[in-house]
Structure formats: structure tokens, C-alpha cells
Symmetry: C2
Subunit: 145 residues, 2 copies
């Protein structure tokens, strides 16, 4: 088993909450989510890619196209007033870093900020499984470019 | 003149700080930047596109490829320890909203957060012009897809 948790999840070795989005990309409910921003979702390559600039152009296009499908779906499906997309290229020294794009639905008066000054909660597994089912309904799996 | 300031800047009607990045995309030093995160940069389409999901796939790929060129360049060119990329799809009611991706260089102990709880400063025009010159050196203009 690889040392990278996102590689392991992408290979479905340790989790079944993943949402297949294409041959090269999967989607996952974030483990930690702000109570006012449920459905905080990650979009990430199955293969280990460290940073935005390390993704080949087709993979990057695919990740962003899937991200845009989520930002398009969130208002109607979740009652969101929009979304916030972010991605960090600062590598923590102690972890194998695996590129992931955060897609956060925004709601009225959610006072969203990142990093969250009050911490974020770990979402119970049953809730993440329910979110994964909903996300599967929002995304049509597509062929890679 | 259009009512959208980013359309006007893209058409070079009201500003010359822009950095041409491709036939369809330009780059601009942000007007407001945190003192510890100078070279906060925007990547945006010349044409008026409101949201991530409204960009056609080629345009979105181009915007993100240029974004990745900046995240690749910032560590060596600016001494950054990485970067933070973000983009909001929450439309303020009172402005014509024009898609823009923020690319923020990160530095040790910068305590970056967004939105910034302490406000951000307007950067003097001469400093933004100097940043635009540097950014031109980081980006090779490319043909659109």
C-alpha cells in the first residue's frame, strides 16, 4: 500500500466513499467540513500528482471541468448561493502531498473563511456516504481526454 | 465602454498594468494585496465570463494552465514556499461579475487567510506596474487552444 492516503483512497484500498468522475479523476466528500458548509468536496487525480503545476495539461483541464460541474450543480441541488474553489500548493513537510481542489458550497450568512479560525468538524462516516451518493447523482462519469 | 471593470481593463481602455497571457486570457496584479503576500495576481478571461461553469472547456483549461505557470514560477522567482489558488462563484448583487482566479504566493509565517480579517491594502500604482513587468517575464504569451 502506498504511503499517500489520497492514492490509497483513489485505488479504493481503504475507502468506498469515492465518486468516480473520469478515468483519471475522483471526487470525495471532505473528511472535515464546516457545519455551515456541508458538501465541502475534493476533486483529485487518482494517480499521485503533487501540485497544480505537476498536472499535465489534459489532467488539469479534466480536474477543472469536473470542478466546474460541481459549482454549476451546487446552487440548484443544495440551495447554495454559489461556491468557493481553492487549492494549496504549500507542501507540509511531513506528508506525501497529493493535489486536491476544494469545492465548497456557499450559503447566506455562512461567514466562510479559510483556514477556518474555529476549526472544522470531522463529518460522521454515514453522512459522508450519503454525500457521496448525492455527488454521484450530480456527476456523469466521463472519459478522460 | 462596458460597465464591467475587468472587461475594460482586458480591452486596455483604462489600465496598462495588464500582462497578456494568451489570445483570450490576461493577468493582472491585484489592486489590494496583503503586505505579506505581495504579487497576489489575478488570471482572467478578456471576454466577459461570469463564473467557472460559464467558461468553455478550452478557456477554462487555458486559464488554469496559466495559473499553473504562475504557481510553478513563484517559488524560484519570489522566494515563496508555495502558493494558494482561489476563486469565488458567489456573485455580489451590485456588480457585473467577471470570472477571475486569484494566485497568491505564500511565504513562511505569512499567516495567510481569506477573507483577510484585517483588511488588505491598496497597492500603489507604481508597485503594481513593477509587478506587472516581473509577471511579464514569468509568462510566455501563448496561442489560445
Amino acid at each position: 500500500m502506498a504511503e499517500c492516503v489520497f492514492c490509497d483512497i483513489g485505488a479504493r484500498h481503504i475507502d468506498r466513499d469515492t465518486v468516480p468522475a473520469s478515468d483519471r479523476v475522483y471526487v470525495l466528500p471532505a473528511l472535515r467540513q464546516r457545519p455551515r458548509n456541508r458538501f465541502h468536496t475534493l476533486v483529485l487525480p487518482i494517480a499521485h500528482v503533487r501540485n497544480l503545476q505537476d498536472a499535465d495539461p489534459c489532467l488539469l483541464a479534466e480536474i477543472m471541468s469536473i470542478t466546474a460541474s460541481l459549482t454549476a450543480a451546487f446552487p440548484a441541488k443544495l440551495g447554495a448561493n454559489g461556491s468557493f474553489v481553492f487549492q494549496s500548493n504549500v507542501e507540509p513537510g511531513d506528508l506525501p502531498f497529493h493535489l486536491h481542489v476544494h469545492v465548497v458550497p456557499r450559503f447566506d450568512d455562512d461567514e466562510f473563511r479559510t483556514p477556518d479560525p474555529y476549526g472544522v468538524e470531522e463529518v460522521p462516516r454515514r453522512d459522508r456516504l450519503a454525500q457521496a451518493r448525492e455527488l454521484r447523482g450530480l456527476l456523469q462519469p466521463r472519459r478522460s481526454l
